[in-house]
């Protein structure tokens, strides 16, 4: 798969990473090279093979549905750049 400029900008937008024109040009080549390299997987016949979902077979552990943690909002917001009381502050989202 060849990654073109439009695709770089589309996935950069999805990933919420701003790219400059120069970066987009570099990424076009780099991402194309990496994707073409991983496409050697197409040589492998995987018909009838289940995709792996868990590398170690384990059974999910059940526990009682009760609150066992929490109650420290100051800790949660401690590392925020901007906060007000126990809230994170962001630029206005709703007009």
């Amino acid at each position: 798969m060849k990654i073109d400029d439009g695709t770089v900008r589309h996935i950069a937008r999805l990933a919420r990473i701003r790219v400059t024109d120069a970066q987009a040009r570099t990424l076009e080549g780099e991402l194309t090279t990496i994707l073409q390299w991983v496409e050697q997987l197409n040589e492998v016949d995987t018909s009838g093979v289940e995709p792996m979902t868990s590398v170690m077979e384990t059974t999910a552990t059940m526990r009682k549905d009760e609150v066992t943690d929490g109650g420290y909002p100051e800790d949660i917001v401690k590392n925020a750049t901007e906060k007000a009381d126990q809230f994170f502050v962001v630029p206005k989202v709703v007009e």
């Binding site: 770089v8 919420r16 991983v38 792996m52 552990t61």
Partner: protein, 494 residues
């Protein structure tokens, strides 16, 4: 007592218990080595001398009463991927600037509960993405080893490059590390140290900055197989806070060191003999076979036919999981925030400035392979190949107990030598990545020196949750290889 840094973790532990020296003394001896050499090696990005002194003093109180845990007073370095309460944790990324966790990772908590002392936070590749420690926001860590007759700086491998460099340079008795595609075993091999990635689920991932959650496992880097056994025994264990942590007892790994390899069936996977592989790596591998054979192991050829597809499959699975895990870095809740006209622009500016080039490449690849229309062709295909890789191992382990392979395709390379070509850098993990893709434990043991006088390692891969056999066989390789006689100290200033 400067020779305290020359002790192994095991002898230091015994000496502390016998009160031959104090926890404060051995912590200080290491802090002095860090002071003198860290400017040159950049192994620590944040030494914590005051915390180390306080922890050591508390250990000394316990030791004086004849109390204390299995690592009481033992000074360790912590990879910056592990969250440490009230101590800055950044995963060596600009985007986590100033992040100071209000909680402790389960693994580091296990170490402190056992009495260990923290010397500081260690350098690594940004979000553990790299094989040379060159993607760190804090600059590369440098390998204490140099090529004979050359002063050119070599990489210590990665992503746990700071951990490996610090252990090799006597800046700690052991270090925590993490391994997603080879990030414990490859730096261990390149620095003449021992590194083990245990079975997926053996160590809790809670509080460890996530890279690729189905592949990430923590483990120790140390200067001997015994030290690795001791340290892993403390790090490992079931943790209800990590749903992938496995609830089975942790054996006494140190007790498993005896016994040798007599009668052990050792598999040699023919697919690991690569075209263009340096002759000295092949020679080292054959030497390893001879060592095990002479101690009574039975050598058998095995086939892992899908091995060559492990690395390309990894470069779909790992970036896919990374793109999802790294979505949390949005400039709102912690770390760097770069303002923009609206919240979307703020996200984009923050992530553009906060992530380095390799992290961006992987997030973008991951976003692409998970995006509408491509999920089946890339991600599902890779997960099917992963099933085949795991089945290869299951079949091989019907005939053998353990596999012997080289740890890396070459010895340490120079700074900048491979950083221009992503795929050439990725190939460093060609022998290690299969164990991550299949969840199996792998250990790298120093086994000899290259023609350039730098260390090379051999890898053993074991059955799931059979770390004991890795330690037992690793010990035999270690004994046979003898002491590599460490790098000469060029990094310390008086």
């Amino acid at each position: 007592m400067s020779d305290l840094t020359e002790l192994t973790l095991a002898t230091a532990r015994d000496g502390l218990r016998a009160r031959d020296f104090s926890a404060r003394e051995i912590a200080q001896a290491h802090l002095d080595v860090i002071d003198a050499g860290n400017a040159a090696l950049n192994a620590y990005i944040l030494p914590v001398p005051e915390i180390a002194a306080e922890m050591a003093d508390r250990s000394d109180v316990r030791l004086a009463k004849g109390e204390g845990g299995p690592l009481e007073g033992v000074p360790l370095g912590i990879k910056d991927l592990f969250c440490t309460r009230d101590v800055r944790t950044t995963a060596c990324s600009h985007i986590l600037d100033g992040f100071t966790p209000t909680y402790e990772s389960t693994i580091t908590q296990n170490l402190w509960d056992a009495g260990a002392v923290m010397l500081g936070k260690l350098n690594c590749d940004e979000f553990a993405m790299g094989s040379s420690n060159e993607t760190s926001y804090y600059g590369p860590a440098i390998n204490p080893w140099r090529r004979e007759g050359s002063n050119a700086p070599l990489v210590p491998g990665g992503s746990s490059g700071g951990s490996a460099a610090a252990v090799a340079a006597r800046m700690c008795l052991g270090a925590t590390a993490t391994d997603t595609g080879g990030s414990i075993r490859q730096p261990a091999a390149l620095t003449g140290t021992v590194g083990i990635k245990p079975t997926y689920g053996r160590c809790s991932r809670w509080g460890v900055v996530a890279f690729a959650s189905s592949l990430d496992q923590a483990g120790p880097i140390t200067r001997s197989v015994r030290d690795a056994a001791i340290m892993l025994g403390v790090m490992a264990g079931y943790d209800p806070k990590d749903s992938t942590s496995v609830n089975i007892p942790v054996p006494d790994y140190e007790a498993a060191l005896v016994g040798g390899v007599k009668g052990l069936k050792v598999g040699i996977p023919k697919e690991y003999r690569l075209e263009g592989m340096p002759e000295e790596i092949d020679t080292l591998w054959r030497q390893g076979v001879e060592w095990l054979k002479s101690e009574g192991a039975e050598i058998r050829d095995v086939s892992l036919p899908h091995s060559r597809y492990a690395l390309p499959a990894y470069y779909i699975v790992a970036p896919a999981e990374a793109s999802s895990n790294l979505a949390r870095y949005d400039g709102v809740r912690y770390g760097l925030r770069v303002p923009g006209a609206d919240i979307i622009e703020q996200y984009e500016n923050t992530r553009s400035e906060g992530f380095g080039d390799e992290v961006k490449r992987r997030v973008l690849i991951g976003t692409y392979v998970l995006s509408a229309g491509y999920y089946d062709a890339y991600y599902l295909k890779a997960q099917r190949v992963r099933t085949l890789i795991k089945q290869d191992f299951e079949k091989a382990f019907e005939d053998v107990d353990i596999l012997l392979t080289p740890a890396t395709p070459g010895a340490a390379f120079a700074l900048g030598e491979k950083s221009g070509d992503p795929i050439e850098m990725y190939l460093n993990d060609i022998f290690t990545v299969t164990a991550n893709m299949s969840g199996l434990p792998g250990i790298s043991v120093p086994a000899g020196l290259s023609g350039e006088g730098t260390p090379m390692g051999l890898q053993l891969i074991g059955k799931a949750f059979d770390e004991e056999t890795l330690f037992r066989a690793g010990r035999v390789l270690e004994d046979a290889a003898g002491d590599l006689a460490g790098p000469e100290d060029w990094w310390s200033v008086a």
